[in-house]
Amino acid sequence: MTNEHEDDVLRAAHSRRSFLKRTTAAAAITLAPAALVKAAEDKLDEKGAEYFEKLPLQIEVNGKPYSLQVEPRVTLLDLLREQLHLTGSKKGCDYGQCGACTVHVDGQRVLSCLSLAVMQDGKKITTIEGLQNGDDLHPMQEAFIEHDGFQCGYCTPGQIMSAVACIREGHAKNDADIREYMSGNICRCGAYPNIVDAIKDVVKKGGVK
């Protein structure tokens, strides 16, 4: 399923580029040859081609639908941070090594830096900004504050998104489980013991939806 989708993406990109190159060449002959040949030499057609290489993307982020045109190489994390200006999801490495970028895609925790945006077509994304209910914080957010599950706060959105999923997955039955299933989220400030306490507290108080 995913592979087919990838193929589609690649085919689409390829055909757009070929089309554009052909039309540029045709235009070069019929219109202003010198300038356009020069443009081609300077690879300006690449600049134009790139515009057409954006792919359509329909996603829902925190309940809000977006209809976008996105370059295929844009990660979900960079889409969120740089284009939608939802900077709550953090970039700590960009290589899937730290968990700071954790978001939920259709309810599952996902490293958004390792996910291409165009592969999320039709999916529902929840980021830290979408976790609370109006002014009411999510119980996990409350618990992080109460147990001081952070210092600098940079890993925190990722920890919280992971923690919510960790409980949902049934991986928060005991301390060892929590530690194991939260180990993809690095906290360099070392708030781990407090984070574990926060998660246990949420479990004790009835878990998460």
């Binding site: 790139e50 700590g92 960009d94 914080l137 530690r179 180990s183 360099r188």
Partner: protein
């Protein structure tokens, strides 16, 4: 509940972080998270070689790539006026000149930036940066400290002179002695937030910078010097800082590059380092090889100590820190010799990292004491108590406060030290070997200068402002707590504004001195506010003119007459009654001159219980107890987190962290978080942090001492000592990975 072992009259405050809500909702904005119209993205391309010169650089591919606006290299870099002065615009630290980015064609370390590519999107800038092609005249790299110690001469100068207290080599004549060499690799700060600079020039001589910095004022100064700008024209913002641990204490070359780039294009620019760049462009804790020798009488009294350290620095800066200082400071020992050597290698410049100096120096010292304790067949805590310094061994001064004995007691009790069988390799839990270890940490308790504005409004709210930044410890929370206690105003009615260089100048957050320095300013400002309130209350009929500050109580947001609390008035009514909109105070708090007569240190005592699996060499830290003498605890919750956080950092250094350079090429091998291991959830047990919580009566009016550094200092030694106790194997090289345990010989 019994965290407050030695209760002081004031209960330890337990305030939730004042910026907690912003941090758990994603509303907190860090340096790379400001959206400016027309934003451009800068990406640095780095050198593939370690040493040599660039002979040609081809930027055409990058320039023609889609979306690229400019490419800057040493060939076309705009002039940085501060470069010509010989002073280092990206502020030098302890010697030499910082890397003047794009100033010449010389390559000094692998990954040194050779080009800045600016494009209209991050992806386009990243791709275009990959198209930069350079040709080099390559020279053989020299990055190995072990080689350097054989072939090179260490740097000379006052900082590197041998220090001899008492008699040199006295340890050699002692009846009981140990002599060992300890090795510690490079440690890298790796805060979770990548270093980032966002720049907007508002004209030729006016700029706004959003920077990851531990000091907004020091960044402002660096930018002013580099670009020859006036203070009022350089605005530095750092509202939230995603960890620093020392890596954000100076203005690094990439920030200058970002300023340069934005100036050249006239567009706002955002530059975020990649994680691999975080290993070479923002410092690290230098690798060190250290010899320790300690001699004692049979009763355990120290007769002499020798500590000689060798560490690395870059070829262009002489970074140095107090590596051997702790050996001169911690114990009462008349005869101590130290020598500190640094070697210049083809690496980027190291910098201060949490517990700078002492974190490295405490490893041989506190393992050495442990070795000596076994040689003496004496309890390691007892050995330390026998050499307890009642006055500062360096200068004979009394301490402004010292509760290290209490911290030993506290920790010993909590870890249940009495269960420890002193015999190494004697304790078991199933197939696991069990061991107990301990160590001491010390760090100078400093206080600097701070300015602060305080405004008490007619609605009873209090605003405090200072140009500081908080990389995590919780500065605003602690300051709100201090003001709340002093003024009797609930914490939710007090706001502390920081992260803005236009506010009254505050200190840089480093050296565990923020609470001491800034807390003093808050405390003083509250005293002045009370005086002004009393003055304003003269206008009120309630007190009938009897408004000497001494005759008033200040609590629950009200003034009341001592002895007759029917006479009371809220702060707001006092202010309104005096026809004011607010009462304003500007405070400049300077260190207490009385401190000249005293020495001041914070202390930590770390206790760990480890389990070692003899067949696999796996180490599990089972229990951690850390007890600290950090003066009065201002904000318990954040203080506990800070201690825990330091311990986690120490645990990383003890068991897993190791920066690896392939010395054949001078190139980093593990410059990412998959290969450079830091502690994760599964590595970290429950950690118990305790505080003696006794105020220091001299250092500052709050009574606090520093905490950030001592939380980590000494921890690696406690782990190594526990592993020795469990296995009988003395591992003298960090990190203590299973292979080292399996290969080591048992006693």
């Amino acid at each position: 509940m019994d965290k407050l072992f030695f209760d002081t009259n004031a209960p330890m405050a337990d305030l939730d972080r004042v910026d907690g809500r912003a941090k758990v909702t994603g509303a907190a904005k860090y340096a790379a998270e400001y959206d400016l119209p027309g934003m451009t993205y800068g990406v640095l391309a780095g050198s593939n070689i370690t040493k040599g010169t660039i002979t040609a650089i081809d930027t055409k591919g990058a320039e023609k790539a889609p979306g690229v606006i400019a490419v800057i290299t040493h060939l076309n870099a705009p002039k940085i006026p501060g470069y010509d002065e010989g002073t280092n615009p990206a502020k030098g630290q302890t010697g030499g000149k910082g890397l003047r980015i794009f100033n010449d064609n010389i390559i000094r370390f692998n990954g040194q930036p050779i080009a800045l590519v600016i494009a209209d999107t991050f992806e386009r800038a990243t791709y275009a940066a990959s198209l930069i092609k350079a040709q080099y005249n390559k020279e053989a790299p020299h990055t190995d400290l072990v080689d350097a110690m054989k072939t090179d001469k260490p740097l000379e100068g006052q900082r590197y002179n041998e220090v001899v207290r008492g008699e040199k080599d006295a340890w050699k004549g002692a009846p009981v002695k140990i002599e060992s060499t300890y090795i510690m690799p490079i440690h890298v700060h790796n805060p979770m937030e990548l270093h980032a600079t966002t720049v907007r020039w508002d004209g030729d001589d006016k700029v706004t910078v959003w920077e990851k910095t531990q000091g907004v004022k020091s960044t402002q100064q660096s930018v002013m010097q580099a670009f020859k700008l006036e203070e009022k024209n350089v605005q530095v913002n750092a509202q939230y800082v995603g960890g620093g641990f020392g890596a954000a204490l100076r203005t690094w070359p990439h920030a200058i590059a970002a300023l340069m780039g934005a100036k050249k294009t006239g567009k706002p620019l955002k530059l975020v380092l990649t994680r691999p760049q975080m290993f070479t462009l923002v410092g690290y804790r230098p690798e060190a090889i250290q010899k320790i020798a300690i001699g004692a009488n049979t009763d355990g009294r120290l007769m002499g100590m020798m500590h000689e350290a060798a560490a690395i620095t870059s070829t262009y800066e002489a970074f140095n820190e107090g590596l051997v200082k702790m050996t001169l400071q911690l114990y009462a020992c008349a005869n101590v010799t130290t020598k500190y050597n640094i070697y210049q290698l083809d690496v980027s410049t190291p910098t201060w990292m949490r517990g700078p100096g002492e974190a490295t120096g405490s490893f041989p010292l506190e393992c050495g004491l442990d070795e000596l304790s076994y040689a003496l067949k004496m309890d390691p805590i007892e050995l330390r108590l026998r050499n307890y310094a009642e006055t500062d061994p360096e200068n004979g001064k009394p301490y402004s406060s010292k509760f290290l004995k209490e911290a030993y007691e506290l920790g010993k009790d909590k870890i249940d030290w009495k269960r420890r069988n002193p015999e190494p390799k004697s304790m078991k839990d199933g197939e696991w070997q069990v061991g107990y270890g301990m160590s001491t940490g010390l760090f100078g308790a400093f206080r600097g200068q701070a300015n602060l504005a305080a405004k008490l409004y007619a609605d009873g709210t209090l605003l405090l402002q200072s140009a500081v930044s908080d990389s995590g410890p919780g500065t605003a929370t602690a300051m709100v707590q201090i003001a709340s206690d002093a003024m009797g105003i609930p914490a939710n009615k007090i706001r502390f504004e920081l992260g803005d260089s236009s506010l009254p100048p505050g200190p840089t957050q480093g050296g565990s001195s923020t609470t001491s320095t800034l807390g003093a300013a808050v405390s003083n400002a509250c005293v002045t506010l009370k005086k002004k309130l009393a003055e304003a209350a003269k206008k009120s009929p309630v007190f009938g003119g009897d408004v000497a500050v001494e005759s008033l109580d200040f609590s629950k947001g009200e003034l009341s007459l001592k002895g007759d609390d029917s006479k009371r008035l809220s702060y707001g009514d006092v202010i309104k009654g005096a026809a004011l909109s607010s009462i304003d105070v500007i405070e400049n708090a300077v260190p207490n001159p009385a401190m000249q007569k005293y020495s001041a240190y914070s202390y930590s005592v770390h206790f760990v219980r480890v389990k070692v699996h003899p067949l696999t060499g796996v180490v599990r830290i089972d229990k951690i107890v850390t007890a600290a003498d950090a003066g009065k605890i201002v904000s318990y919750k954040t203080a506990e987190s800070q201690m825990i956080g330091g311990v986690v950092g120490g645990l990383g250094g003890a068991l897993m962290e190791e920066g690896v350079i392939d010395h054949r090429y001078g190139r980093w091998v593990n410059n990412n978080l998959a290969d450079y291991h830091v502690p994760v959830h599964a590595d970290v047990p429950h950690i118990e942090a305790y505080f003696v919580n006794k105020p220091d009566p001299v250092l500052n009016p709050v009574g606090s001492k520093g905490m950030g550094e001592i939380a980590l200092i000494g921890f690696a030694a406690a782990v190594a000592n526990a592993i020795y106790h469990a296995t009988g194997k003395r591992i003298r090289q960090l990190p203590i990975t299973p292979d080292k345990i399996l290969e080591a010989n048992s006693i």
